[in-house]
Symmetry: C2
Subunit: 445 residues, 2 copies
């Protein structure tokens, strides 16, 4: 039986806690960054230059794809079959999740977005959906149909016209569950191709795969680096790092639930981090025991253990106030508030991807079907980055329209011309002044 | 006298026009990309490792800075002096512009943003300002105080607590006009340092310059590449390319205004692009003559001429409809609609940074004081990117809170567990199921 008591720490202040937690800030820092970067850059270049020829070559070499170019696209019939092949309760669960995601984001759309978010005076802002969006779904040990729902449904609600899905084929093709999820979302254009070459194809377009306006969805280090490199030529949701949860608990929390939530996070992969910060040593010790007991029967025990022993922390601090300060330093992807009156701490929390209020609210609900997208800022980027949402799939255009009075026109002309000349841009000054008839002659002899 | 009649083209369709305009799509494509990338990467690494030591070294080497580390920070007194040293009408123009930018973005904030954009059911979204933002102001031939206003004022309206300003010193220090603009915006933390090392310092923090959450503002190719490389560790507004305007005109437009607006764009730099698309050959020829006449007395004549001869186009097309289609292919940074009833074309325009409606509305107004930020997506990125706005300086946090009924809890638990098991994540399933007392025993023996 694994002993997790080595993961128990005590800290008096947020600064002390930061030192204890320093290993989690180092996750995802790449020692072989330059090699990885060069490899990604070379694949991107090949796809840009050679298009489909390079795409097929890499799909065979790297994904283990066995077909021809025309087989890369998954037929809608195949997706429907995949859906039909699932047990009825799983089909219902996918639709249940889709409906809730749609409801949550749809309600926010009604509230926050209109076709024309106009300024009360003249001019305003036009909000428009992106035209075409690419959804990347990773392969690997765990196939995540939930990621399809958590990106494609939100894009649809935002009004995106076309969604392109990609996921590595492998020798068996894309798993049924992934295809079924695309089917549930009504996504027609799915290609069995993954990795850097799939990102490149969506960023620049090939004969087979159309160029998109934005690429969303998680992936391994190669995919993350590829997204970083194509950013600017195409938009991306974020550069995703390893996943993490931070749980704040007071003595009202239940040790079994705390342990279960830490284990759920740790089972993702060996880089995942589960941090529990609490105010009660007795509770902390109970969690250590619960972890040991619960993990012993976990199918992914080995992964969860490695993750907990490296990036798992049970940290006892003097007060919830200190715990909240630590949380804001970490800027966690997921923040669970398993405390009395969790709402009262919201005002102090500046940095978090998603906040789960109350001990009843397991992160797993948010992972699958509570409503908000589970694609969230990782690795401290909640300081400046946001969850996937309607805003992820829209863009804005400023509108500049007319003047409320002749006086306003004259003021804007005069001040524009003054500032243009301050910047040494006489052409700008003349273009502004030209709008007043009485000065036109003077400036255009 | 320069003859611009070589810039006059005819196209029957949007596809034909795209071929004519192909040079503008090639601007900013870098043939020596790898050298530039490596140089930028090496400077970033030095600042990360050595902090202030490397910062001072690069400031002396590359910016021509002559002081010590402690002199990098501009004193608030120095900024106030710079403001006081400007002629009274210029001081008033800066304040006029600031007030209008504040009014425009403030009205949108009232409309579109609240502290809590709640979902009508349970949960919602928390919108928060970023804590600390860096504003980069380029040096070079033209000092742009307007860029200070067009970023810092918007950040302030969004609620950003601290704004850090940087601009290369040169032997003379930062120009008075830039410092005065920072003063008008109430920015206290300004450092005379520019280039890649300034971007690195703001991204990672040094003893002198604090780490920020987001970096905004334009710069040269080195600065743009530096922003691209630090993206992910810190947020950035966009990877800016050369500036551009696309003007659509029908026979109601005035040739002198069209020529003046093209020249205003072209005088920025030799990579700038001014494209006029119109339906009337007589008008087109009048614009050619107006360009020749107006440019002859322009202080920046040489720059504007080179830009117009390389990236300037006067394109005659069969209809405004075709012109609008071309515009959407180009996705211009600035789009002027110098046509009758300009509003009626808005519905067809999907891709543009800012739209100027009506021939009266010169782009120069938007550059200085109409209201919306002049920091706009360039190089076709209006397909997926947006102007600097309140949204640029805020982030969102998802809130997940409680259930409307016991039934809802049970549905969410059951469906979460089903989907977790579909993904092979038993720990997730157990964490969800633990929230139902009657199954708890079964799962935690």
């Amino acid at each position: 039986m694994t002993d997790f008591s080595s993961r128990l720490f005590v800290a008096g202040t947020a600064t002390e806690a930061r030192i204890v937690l320093s290993p989690i800030f180092q996750r995802g820092r790449d020692s072989e960054g330059e090699t990885l970067r060069a490899r990604v850059s070379s694949i991107l270049g090949d796809i840009r230059r050679e298009g489909d020829v390079a795409l097929l070559r890499y799909a065979r070499e790297l994904d283990g794809f066995r077909g021809e170019l025309k087989d890369l696209r998954v037929s809608p019939g195949r997706m429907e079959e995949s859906f039909g092949a699932l047990p009825s309760e799983i089909r219902k669960a996918l639709v249940f999740a889709k409906d809730r995601i749609e409801e949550f984001h749809g309600a926010l759309r009604e509230k926050g977005l209109s076709g024309l978010a106009s300024h009360p005076g003249k001019g305003g802002v036009l909000v428009r959906p992106l035209h075409r969006v690419g959804v990347y779904v990773p392969g690997g040990t765990a196939a995540y149909p939930s990621t399809v729902l958590m990106t494609a449904v939100v894009a649809k609600v935002a009004g995106v016209k076309q969604i392109v899905g990609v996921s590595p084929a492998g020798p068996e093709g894309i798993p049924d569950a992934i295809l079924a999820a695309f089917h549930v979302c009504g996504v027609q254009d799915v290609y069995q191709v993954g990795g850097v070459h799939a990102i490149a194809a969506m960023a620049y377009g090939t004969g087979t795969i159309p160029r998109v306006d934005k690429i969303v969805g998680p992936g391994n280090r190669y995919v993350a680096e590829a997204k970083r490199q194509v950013f600017g030529d195409v938009d991306i949701d974020m550069v995703a790092g390893p996943t993490e949860v931070l749980i704040l608990a007071d003595d009202s929390a239940q040790p079994e639930w705390l342990a279960a939530d830490m284990i759920a996070q740790a089972e993702h992969d060996t880089q995942a981090s589960a941090v529990l910060i609490l105010t009660d040593m007795t509770l902390a010790k109970a969690v250590v025991l619960a972890l040991e007991r619960q993990i012993s029967s976990l199918p992914r025990q080995k992964i969860a253990e490695e993750s907990l022993l490296k990036f798992g922390f049970i940290l006892v601090v003097p007060s919830v106030q200190v715990a909240v300060e630590i949380s804001d330093l970490v800027a966690p992807e997921h923040l669970e508030l398993q405390v009395r009156n969790p709402e009262k701490w919201l005002g102090l929390i500046q940095n978090a991807g998603a906040v789960f209020l109350g001990s009843e609210m397991a992160e797993a609900f948010g992972d699958y079907c509570f409503g908000p997208s589970h694609v969230l800022p990782t690795n401290g980027s909640a300081r400046f980055s946001s969850p996937v949402s309607i805003e992820t799939f829209t863009k804005r255009t400023s509108l500049l329209e007319g003047f409320r009075s002749r006086q306003e026109l004259e003021d804007v002309v005069r001040n524009s011309a003054l500032l243009a000349r301050l910047e040494g841009l006489e052409g700008h000054a003349r273009s502004a002044l030209a709008r007043l008839e009485n000065v036109q002659k003077e400036f255009f002899p």
